[in-house]
């Protein structure tokens, strides 16, 4: 079985003399979730729109599973779920009709359209509102329908542009869970977002873009290590015994630990180098020296710190 892939080759988009996207080269492959990060106006939506036939590139190619989306759209998007910005839906249709339309377009067999529509709306908690007219729905409800439409037909690749925008906190968390669920099967998810905690929670890799240029692409912990101010990943360690000066000394001596900072009586923050492998080694040493370790977790703000040090200014 071939791996799902998205590939931008010298992808360029100009608006008059303004270059929104400049020779972007990026290949995403395999079943994973890739976060697409960058400040406002960086070119994220532009990139995702080119991949979904909403705009045409000025130069370069956008390949989905090796197929040029601008040449063979139907074939390229055959197994892709798409949500770009916040689409509107024909207001007089009910949610059920709107989703059935997309299900039929995607080619879900007649016999299972009804069930597929009900299944996806259950996921986005809209099953009870399927017969309501779209024009009577709130922004967040419509966005749930949009997400349901994107995942209809069990797509192999999912392209999402700020999928949780407009949702209430519960909605955001539900959508995060849906995306995590989507990850479980052989699926490639490419998702732009400004919510860094969301990205570090869901995604494996990140692509960082600014002024239409790719700045970095790779696994989150590699990017964090390479680009954060401290050049290491921060790990939060919880102990069940109070932290003493001796504990800190012993932690400092572990290979791969760059620095140790006491947070409170039972928590310390370690700066660890060597990526995930480094973290694994540090953890196994920690266990061996029996300090009373009960928790070991990559700091959730690591990505945010990296982001802030990478993008010094907005726009």
């Amino acid at each position: 079985m071939t791996l799902p892939s998205l590939e931008a080759i010298n992808l360029t988009k100009k608006y008059g003399s303004f270059t929104a996207l400049s020779k972007l080269n990026l290949k995403l492959e395999g079943s994973k979730c890739v976060g697409f990060l960058g400040p406002n106006g960086a070119g994220k939506t532009t990139t995702l729109k080119i991949f979904t036939d909403m705009i045409r590139p000025t130069g370069g190619m956008a390949l989905i599973n090796g197929i040029d989306v601008n040449k063979e759209k139907k074939k390229a998007l055959k197994s892709v779920g798409v949500l770009i910005e916040t689409p509107e839906i024909y207001g007089s249709l009910s949610a059920r009709e709107a989703l059935s339309m997309i299900a039929e377009i995607k080619g879900i067999s007649r016999a299972s359209v009804r069930k597929s529509v009900e299944d996806v709306s259950e996921l986005v908690k809209m099953k009870g509102l399927l017969n309501q007219k779209i024009k009577k729905m709130s922004k967040g409800m419509k966005q749930r329908i949009n997400i349901a439409a994107a995942i209809l037909g069990n797509p192999e690749i999912v392209i999402l542009d700020e999928p949780t925008s407009g949702l209430d906190p519960r909605g955001m968390s539900e959508v995060r869970d849906i995306i995590k669920d989507l990850k479980k099967e052989n699926r490639l998810i490419f998702m732009s977002s400004h919510l860094l905690s969301e990205v570090s929670e869901i995604c494996d890799d990140v692509a960082m873009i600014n002024h239409g240029k790719l700045l970095a692409y790779g696994p989150i912990e590699k990017i964090v290590e390479k680009f954060s101010k401290v050049g290491a990943v921060e790990v939060e360690v919880n102990l069940f015994r109070p932290v003493t000066g001796d504990t800190i000394d012993r932690l400092r001596n572990i290979k791969g630990v760059r620095s140790v900072k006491k947070v409170d009586s039972k928590t310390v923050l370690l700066q660890v180098i060597g990526g995930l492998k480094g973290q694994e080694e540090v953890l196994s040493r920690l266990v061996r020296i029996k300090l009373g370790i009960v928790g070991f977790k990559q700091s959730s703000s690591a990505l945010e710190e990296t982001y802030l040090s990478m993008f010094k200014e907005t726009v």
Partner: protein, 286 residues
Amino acid sequence: MAQKLKFEEKTIVPNSFYHITIMMLYSFLEYVRSRRFFILLLITIAIGMLLTGVVAYYRPQSFLVSEQSFYANWWGETVTFIIILSAVFFGGDAISGEFQNKTGYFLVGNPIRRSSIYLGKFLAAFCGALIMLLVFTAMTIGNGLYYFGGVTNLFWESLSFSVLYLATAIGMTFFFSSIFKTNSTAIVVTIILMLFVFSLMQSLVANLAHYEPWFIVTYGAQIINNVLMNPYPPSTQTTAAPLPHGQSITVTSYNATVPEGLIIMIGYFIVSLVTGLILFEHKEFN
């Protein structure tokens, strides 16, 4: 934790013909449920009732002298107005709306050709407008049967030309609608062009330039009315109108023959549909 995704469905993307049908059905649903549809239906019925009332009350000679002249007076001019009105109502923002209202964002990212979206919406608009045409036809025939007990064959001819003109007019409104990105511009420009500019140009070309306006669609559409005339008006007719001081001015009027009229309408239909499609294919969602 959300429940596991249980849809194991594998999809087979349908052919474009099937896509067009899907788009047609759902856009048609959207059309017939819109407030606009009911307003247009009311306008059409109001026009029909007005004519019915006027004919019943005033018994105008021109209407009642013969069966053919009844249909000629009742149908010709009025139906073109209804056709253009419905074309604007259904087509004016059909494409621009996909951009301005962002409904296109829901559709375009799916494995469907943009041309299928365009053609499906076109067919839906055509069916919607056809309902208006049929309502007016029913009212026409109702009155015709009441006064003359029959329908002249020429009326069926005229009706079929009207259906063609309807397709052409919608093709043209779709074309204008794909030029503009805002609905109001698309609708206003289409109304001005279809209701005024074309007929104005037509009379300027004919009367001032003394040139047959064969390239203007409203000229071709005159066969809808002309076919009901007795006799069918001649291709060119020059009449001298006397002016004071013994001078006179010659006025030339042109009339397309039925084949000419058909060719003009079909020409406009094809050109507007094809160029509209090309415009939509290249238009960007931003």
